[in-house]
């Protein structure tokens, strides 16, 4: 069956997409918004994306991968934004396995082996 990619912009959309995928393993990469040229304001997110994408083929069957843009820099810096409050995110990029405490933050996302571990191990 393989894996499926979905996109989300902002918190409510993310929650919606995650709910739709209930029952399946859900992985999400949170990044700063991309501009018209497709570049994120968050430099680490720019570096992390290709690393994460290179490991997507190791996702378990039936998994859903959500690429979520969290918002602009000002929104992200607000300590009360919904991602920080509800999902307990502390930084972007964050790559996590939804519904578990398993996540990789910032430079951990640039480590292919760690991404592989997150995608494949229990």
């Amino acid at each position: 069956m393989g894996w499926e990619e979905k996109a989300a912009r902002g918190y409510s959309e993310f929650v919606q997409v995650a709910q739709q995928s209930r029952g399946r393993p859900v992985f999400a990469l949170f990044s700063g918004d991309k501009d018209a040229q497709g570049r994120s304001w968050c430099p680490d997110c720019v570096t992390a994306e290709p690393v994460v994408r290179s490991e997507l083929n190791s996702l378990p069957d039936g998994a859903v991968f959500i690429y979520c843009q969290v918002g602009d820099r000002a929104y992200w810096k607000d300590p009360n934004n919904e991602f920080r409050k509800n999902l307990k995110l502390t930084a972007v990029p964050t790559l996590l396995k939804y519904g578990t405490p398993q996540k990789l933050v910032e430079e951990e996302c640039l480590n292919r082996e760690l991404v592989h571990m997150l995608f494949t191990e229990d």
């Binding site: 578990t100 405490p101 398993q102 996540k103 990789l104 951990e108 082996e113 760690l114 571990m117 191990e121």
Partner: protein, 533 residues
């Protein structure tokens, strides 16, 4: 990596498993090796420099330290499920079923008390608005533990330590078999091994114990509230668990065979027990359970416990929702193949005697943590021992682990911090005429307004008269005992004397300042009751 036994070495060179050996023999390689003389051994003939059996406090610390020095390290961690089927992730006892969840649940209980006190400080809310949800607490605790398990996996991977969730056992010299939970077996060899397998709760050996009772291994992830609970045992595990369960509002009884907190200062142990009794924990003293039966199924269900007095004369019965056994812990050394490599253990206790460099009787096998005979069973001790061992093995260091004056804290409702000798041990070692015991009750300021427990918190130091009144024992019963004790333990390591303590100006108003103004000795029989500041 090999997939079958035997694993053959010739002249210290690893040939490999059965198939590889047969092949090498056919190719004449074995004959050639047998004919070579001298010390031609290949350094990298083992799979790993170090294999650590047990991914707990000690094992993880040692493996990460060894990896720092460029060593190839494998950690094997495996949790045999409890009789109730409970299992957990990487990190060992402390993280999963020990210190961490214990302290968090102790905190939950303390917060309940704080809520009650808060009224006296002006907070207004209705009594019936205050309820406790076991499920909410347990979910939050388990979530945090899950993040620690994950954190360790990331940490090992980042430090290039190989980790396998598999049961490790010795099958021959320098060789270990690792079996995962699907039964798949792999064989590994290493130059050195570290046993850090820790302990598991002991059962009573009476009918119904494994079927119906739980242990601390099960308590912290119990998916339902334990309800009316009987705690069997008088260890710190028993008292800490009984303490927080009662603090959360549950009906708790503790069944004790003889004394409380064996090995700890008995004056302090008895004060802890008295405090718990005054705060609603029931004690059944000098009884042991002889049978546990299930009356009703359910979560938690209902159990009947039949117990006999230690003098054999009386039999009693009681009904409880949950029976929690905390009667001791046994070292995990009986099923890991130690006999195959000749590692000696204490047959009665299962613990491993080691040198002061944590080496077993087999030179290439070391051991740290709770499995050790005669050493303190504490996370920081295992971590320190593990790190220093790795440094001695791989970084040319010589520093050995110092097991003297290790501070500890018991997180009973009234916390107890200690460092150094108990009064009994000091008396025995130095003689009554050579020690001076200074003591006092104290009343935390925060307890005055809510009128809590005056003359219950207690401070005691034991001084060696012949050595400048050196402080050789420190004991405190009161809130934040761990925080209070940590600082003083550093002072004790520096050789703190009574005079230096007296010369230290206290911080006011805090509990710890009592130690800077101790003046009444036990010898004088003077009054130590407090009337407030």
């Amino acid at each position: 990596m090999e997939t079958s036994v035997p694993i053959v070495f010739v002249q210290q060179k690893q040939i490999g498993d059965y198939d590889k050996t047969l092949k090498a023999h056919k190719e004449g390689k074995i004959q050639k090796l047998l004919e070579t003389k001298g010390h031609d051994h290949v350094q990298d003939s083992y799979d790993y420099d170090l294999i650590v059996i047990g991914g707990g406090s000690g094992g993880l610390a040692a493996s990460k330290e060894a990896a720092k020095y460029g060593k190839k390290v494998l950690v094997l961690d495996y949790v045999t499920p409890t009789p109730q089927g409970t299992r957990w992730g990487l990190g060992g006892t402390c993280v999963n079923v020990g210190c961490i969840p214990k302290k968090l649940m102790h905190q939950a209980a303390l917060l309940g008390q704080a809520l009650q006190d808060s009224r006296k400080f002006g907070w207004q809310f209705e009594e019936k608005a205050v309820k406790h949800s076991w499920e909410t607490m347990t979910e939050a605790v388990q979530n945090y533990i899950g993040s620690l398990n994950w954190g360790y996996r990331v940490s090992l991977r980042e430090k290039k330590v190989t980790y396998e969730n598999a049961f490790g056992e010795f099958v021959g010299p320098h060789t270990i078999k690792a079996t995962n939970n699907k039964g798949k077996e792999k064989f590994y060899t290493a130059e050195k091994f570290l046993i850090a397998t820790g302990e598991r709760p002991r059962y009573l050996g009476v009918p119904g114990d494994k079927e119906y009772c739980i242990s601390s291994d099960d308590l912290f992830s119990l998916p339902y509230c334990p309800g009316k609970t009987l705690v069997v045992g008088a260890s710190y595990v028993a008292l800490e668990c009984a303490g927080f369960l009662a603090g959360l509002g549950l009906d708790v009884t503790v069944m004790v065979r003889s004394i409380l907190l064996r090995g700890f200062d008995q004056e302090m142990a008895n004060k802890i027990g008295e405090h718990m009794e005054e705060h609603g924990v029931k004690f059944i003293k000098e009884f042991v359970p002889t049978k546990v039966e299930r009356i009703e199924e359910g979560t938690p269900g209902k159990l009947k416990v039949i117990a006999q007095s230690t003098d054999g004369r009386e039999i009693i019965e009681g009904e409880y929702n949950t029976v929690l056994l905390a009667v001791g812990r046994d070292a995990c050394t009986r099923t890991i193949g130690l006999d195959k490599v000749g590692v000696k253990i204490n047959e009665r206790s299962g613990k491993i005697p080691v040198s002061d460099e944590e080496q077993t009787n087999v030179p290439y096998i070391y051991a740290i943590g709770d499995v050790l005979e005669g050493k303190l069973e504490l996370t920081p001790v295992a971590i320190q021992a593990g790190r220093l061992l790795a440094r001695r093995l791989y970084a040319g260091a010589t520093l050995k682990c110092d097991y003297v004056n290790v501070p500890t804290t018991v997180f009973t409702p009234l916390e107890y911090g200690a460092c150094g000798f108990s009064e009994e041990t000091a008396l025995e070692k130095f003689g009554e005429e050579n020690i001076e015991v200074y003591h006092s009750y104290f009343w935390p300021l925060e307890w005055t307004v809510p009128s809590r427990d005056n003359n219950k918190c207690y401070a005691k130091i034991i001084c060696n008269i012949q050595d400048n009144e050196r402080v050789i024992g420190f004991h405190v019963l009161g809130p934040n005992a761990g925080e209070v004790t940590q600082g003083f333990s550093a002072a004790i390591k520096c050789g703190l004397t009574k005079a230096q303590l007296d010369n230290t100006i206290g911080i006011h108003p805090v509990c710890a300042e009592i130690f800077t103004t101790l003046s009444v000795t036990k010898r004088s029989g003077g009054n130590i009751l407090q009337s407030g500041c």
